[in-house]
Amino acid sequence: MAHNSPYLTKASSVQSVMLRVVLALIPGIVAYVWFFGPAVLIQLGLASFTAIAAEALVLKLRKRPIWRFVSDGSALVTAWLIALSFPPLGPWWLIVVGTLVAIIVAKHLYGGLGQNPFNPAMVAFALMIVAYPLLMSRWPNVATSINFQQACELIFGASTMDAITSATPLDTLRTALHGADASTTIQTVLAKTPRLGHGWDWIAGGYLLGGLYLLQQRIITWHLPTAFLLSMALLAGVSNQLDPAHFNGVAFELLSGGTLLAAFFIVTDPVSSCTTPRGKLIFAAGVGLMTWVIRHFGGYPDGIAFAVLLMNVAAPLIDMYTQPPVFGQKSDMKPKHD
Amino acid sequence: MFEAILVMSVGAIVLGAALGYAAVKFRVEGDPLVEKIDAILPQTQCGQCSFPGCKPYAQAIARGEAEINQCPPGGEDGIRKLADLLGREFKPLSAEHGIEKPKAVAVIDEQTCIGCTLCIQACPVDAIVGAAKQMHTIIAEQCTGCELCLPPCPVDCITMETLHETVETWKWKYPVVTLHPAANLQ
């Protein structure tokens, strides 16, 4: 039997969608390399290679058409998100193991493309930060510049890195605020490290640029990023007003950590998030709320991964209860005659 | 020691009494299972299951006296549904009760019919109309294809006609992705 109508199709494919997402990540990566050196490029390469190799291997084991699925680009998107959320100076095996877990466990054990209930990149991040909390905080110090060779040595284990790594701004604050000294406030920390958070704002800007591109391309809708950023901003604004000594301001909260990466690239993962308009708003606001809660009261410096995973669990339920009214079922439509 | 035994005994008596009361008070009455089984059965009332109709067979299944694979008109699909409902293992249709056939209706050859009314008495769903010494006919929409009218007919004027797909009963197939076949038009 030949295929049935419609016989016309719009020229779009999963591949083109995924490649445009990859393209949208590039401005953020450029800023990243500018401030933290080329180490992240090595991680990107490692993650991409591992992801594609693992994808091909699993597809072969599952007896699926290999080329059709490897070329869809979804593994590449996962790999890049992992590379951008993992610390750039982490040892090579950290990102390799993380990527393997993402592709094999989080994606293919659930049925492959389109079937995974959890965001694979965030599964990898959550698993590795739980397993190796110390290694996952090896971020380069903005002040020290690392060239390509140094980065290789650090990543492939030929030298130690204590001198040049530092915690992320969020981690720094968290450690200081939850430390023994109860009198520490954000202001005292900032006084000690005036350049805290510098560079991160530019990277965030890069992600924002990519996100706007995705919006323009209609690959993502406004609901998810807006609701996520608004809920974060709202919480940060209110808490900062109430207790400026212990809660970050809106700008710091939005520009640090992976907030903007998450807003445009992670929360918007269509497979594992909600699909109805209202559902998207609830989902993203929930991620924002949980991220903020984990950042300030949880055991880990950044809570996006956990927040996303927790909301992933709730996504089908939210979708079920937020089905938009179908044509003709809006409440104001009443027949004149029955 | 004595104290411990006393505490345990009192506890046991109180709990036992509560449970005993509950067992009497909240006993489940009726058997909704029969209805559910009956809903799955095809209602041909053909008796091939060795029970006089679908409801009696449903009751027998519910009591555990009959296997779930005795209904040829229900076919494999029906057995699967029953297996799901009852949590029993799927079994292939039992051969002694018949084989699954395409759905058919009985047709009376009106030239041969002598009007004996025997088929009318045999029809479990009253789908045959006619009177003594008058020609009989079958209401096709109400015929379940049970074949119970075939044996009593003394002149063998009833035949079963398989129902074929028509434009009205045609169904869209489950989409399967196949390569487009070569042009088959001139």
């Binding site: 030949a2 295929h3 049935n4 109508s5 016989y7 016309l8 199709t9 719009k10 779009s12 494919s13 999963v14 969608v17 058409p65 059709r68 493309l113 079937q115 809708t221 269509p270 699909t275 109805t276 089905q323 938009p324 009214p325 179908v326 044509f327 003709g328 079922q329 439509m333 027949p335 004149k336 005659h337 | 009956d38 209602q43 679908c54 409801k55 209706v105 004996c116 769903v125 009253d126 010494k133 929409e141 109400q142 379940t144 003394p154 002149v155 006609e161 074929h164 797909e165 028509t166 434009v167 009963t169 045609w170 869209w172 197939k173 489950y174 989409p175 992705v177 487009h180 042009a183 038009l185």
Partner: protein
């Protein structure tokens, strides 16, 4: 009446495919209904509208004239069928239908005589007729919705309503790519259409009339505006933005009035009624000229050298009109309808029916086979494109997994199968096919269930009756026995034998009767001709044999379902 200033409403979703409408509007409507063009054989299916299948009222060998009724509507939800030209009925048999199944259905085959002789046509005065008479007249004229749904028009022209309806909408949107039959009709026969619209308005008592036309048909809009201006009635031509499927009845009602008619409700419940422009013309021809619906405009487009519209007699084999457009050699499929909702034809010998608005020829070049299906990534494009505001992706999961209950809960039956979701799907999933599958499966199951329920009820009633009869019989016997006992007591001397073996003698008697009947039947079969036919004239005998033949034929048709043609 110029373009109104009133604001239009919008519907959600929809897509903007390439329209390809120019090619088939360059030439005027070709006429294939002229006497010389009439094919030698017309195949007129009896079932051409929603509802019951009309009963044939002509016999094989009978002469018919153009416009003569050959099939009578079966019940109220049905519509009559007419001979498209004059000729002889050569057969009433199963022929392949223009239906994706490729199955056959009962058709009247007409051997044309080339004279194209009309029956006596007489205009119908709707002003003097009662609503019921108007309905019956239109039903007998075979007027059905020509937009593609072929819903019997007489059911929609419901003149019973006190005070009339609010809005009458005439659908000239024609949103599907390639199809231009309504466009050409409006350009060339705007006046007749407007006359039909005025008739409909009078019957319905509509307060306002809006003729909706998509803004990609400027010539049609201009022609209609002129015709509306000439007619003197206050009709309005409304130009609606071009977006597929703006021509869907519900979408057009939404765009023009803002009213959303939900699934399961009729638009008349909301004081709106919507008809296609071609239907308006058919009404004019039926009421104004007394001509039944025997032809329609068909677009031939796609993989042909000279795409064009034709006025085609119902029952013309489609190969006949395709040939007039010189199809290209790489044509590999024939589609009835447009590229978004059309259905593939099983062959080129199938006839044009009232639903045939377009014959689209396809090739791998213009309709490339879809890329391999990928898994759904829940991107939500389909939900944005859905004009019924459904969540096609959810419906897809449920239909694919055959969880039909859930699919219905998610409003599967609100789906109008417009194809927008499949059109935009980046994973190339044949979404509409899944919905079609799920819908027909649900219908089949519901039908099966209702039949099973009916069988159960009948079985249970029969059992109840058996028990009741048994009780009545035993009561009767008891009464008789009591009476006999009383008689016995009275007549002590003469003992009357009471038949206590009533049942067995009854059975014996019956067996004897049956044996006698069998014997009689055998005898009858031996003496082939009945006694009462011996003194009849030759004509009478011929008549009887003709009746016998017809009877045999009807029996043949009445047989539940014939095996499909080889």
């Amino acid at each position: 009446m110029t373009t109104p200033l009133r604001s239009l409403f919008d519907f959600n979703g929809g897509v903007k495919p390439d329209y390809h409408k120019d090619a088939s509007t360059r030439l005027s409507i070709g006429v294939l209904s002229a006497p010389t063009e009439v094919p030698t054989e017309l195949v007129i299916p009896l079932h051409q509208s929603i509802g019951g299948t009309p009963r044939p009222i002509v016999a094989v060998g009978e002469q018919v004239k153009k416009g003569q009724r050959i099939g009578d509507a079966d019940g109220d939800v049905s519509s009559a069928v007419h001979a498209s030209t004059s000729g002889t009925v050569s057969a009433i048999e199963m022929r392949r239908m223009p239906h994706p199944s490729g199955l056959s259905s009962l058709c009247v085959v007409l051997e044309t005589d080339g004279r194209d002789e009309w029956i006596a046509c007489q205009a119908f005065d709707h002003k003097l007729a009662t609503p019921q008479e108007i309905r019956d007249y239109l039903r007998d004229c075979g007027v059905v919705g020509l937009g593609g749904a072929v819903f019997p028009t007489h059911l929609k022209l419901n003149a019973d309503r006190q005070g009339g309806i609010e809005t009458l909408i005439i659908n000239g949107a024609e949103c599907e790519p390639y199809i231009t039959c309504d466009d050409m009709l409006m350009r060339e026969r705007a006046n007749d259409i407007v006359r039909g619209v005025v008739l409909m308005r009078e019957i319905l008592g509509a307060k306002q009339v809006r003729i909706g036309i998509e803004d990609n048909k400027p010539e049609a809009i201009a022609a209609m505006q002129v015709a509306v201006g000439d007619c003197g009635d206050d009709l309005q031509v409304v130009v609606v933005p071009t977006r597929y499927p703006a021509g869907g009845a519900k979408q057009l009602i939404r765009v023009i009035t803002g009213i959303e008619v939900p699934h399961g409700k009729r638009s008349i419940d909301y004081d709106v009624q919507c008809f296609n422009v071609a239907t308006a013309l058919a009404i004019y021809e039926a009421i104004g000229l007394g001509r039944p619906l025997i032809s329609r405009i068909v677009t031939v487009a796609g993989n042909v050298d000279a795409p064009r519209n034709f006025d085609v007699l119902i029952g013309t084999p489609i190969k006949k009109i395709i040939a007039a457009c010189s199809p290209l050699p790489d044509t590999n499929r024939l589609i009835m309808g447009g590229p978004m909702m059309g259905v593939e034809m099983p062959g080129d010998e199938v006839p044009v029916v009232k639903a045939t608005n377009c014959i689209l020829l396809g090739s791998n070049k213009i309709f490339p086979p879809p890329a391999p299906e990928m898994p759904c990534i829940r991107c939500g494009e389909c939900a944005l494109a859905c004009p019924a505001d459904l969540q096609p992706l959810e419906l897809y999961w449920f239909s694919r997994a055959k969880i039909f209950g859930k699919a219905q809960e998610y409003h599967l039956f609100d789906c109008i199968e417009c194809g927008c979701c499949s059109y935009v799907c980046p994973s190339n999933i044949p979404l509409v096919d899944y919905y079609r599958f799920a819908k027909s499966e649900i219908w089949a199951r519901e039908k099966e269930k209702s039949l099973a329920d009916e069988a159960r009820d009948r079985f249970e009633f029969r059992q109840f009756r058996d028990v009741r009869d048994e009780q009545e019989k035993s009561a009767r016997l008891a009464a008789r026995a009591a009476a006999a006992a009383a008689a016995k007591q009275l007549a002590t001397t003469d003992t009357v034998a009471i038949p206590n073996t009533e049942a067995s003698t009854e059975a014996n008697e019956k067996a004897a009767l049956i044996a006698a009947a069998i014997a009689r039947a055998r005898e009858q079969q031996v003496t082939a001709t009945p006694q009462n036919m011996q003194q009849l004239s030759a004509e009478q005998l011929a008549e009887i044999s003709a009746i016998e033949a017809r009877r045999a034929e009807i029996r043949e048709q009445a047989k539940p379902h014939l095996p499909p043609d080889a």
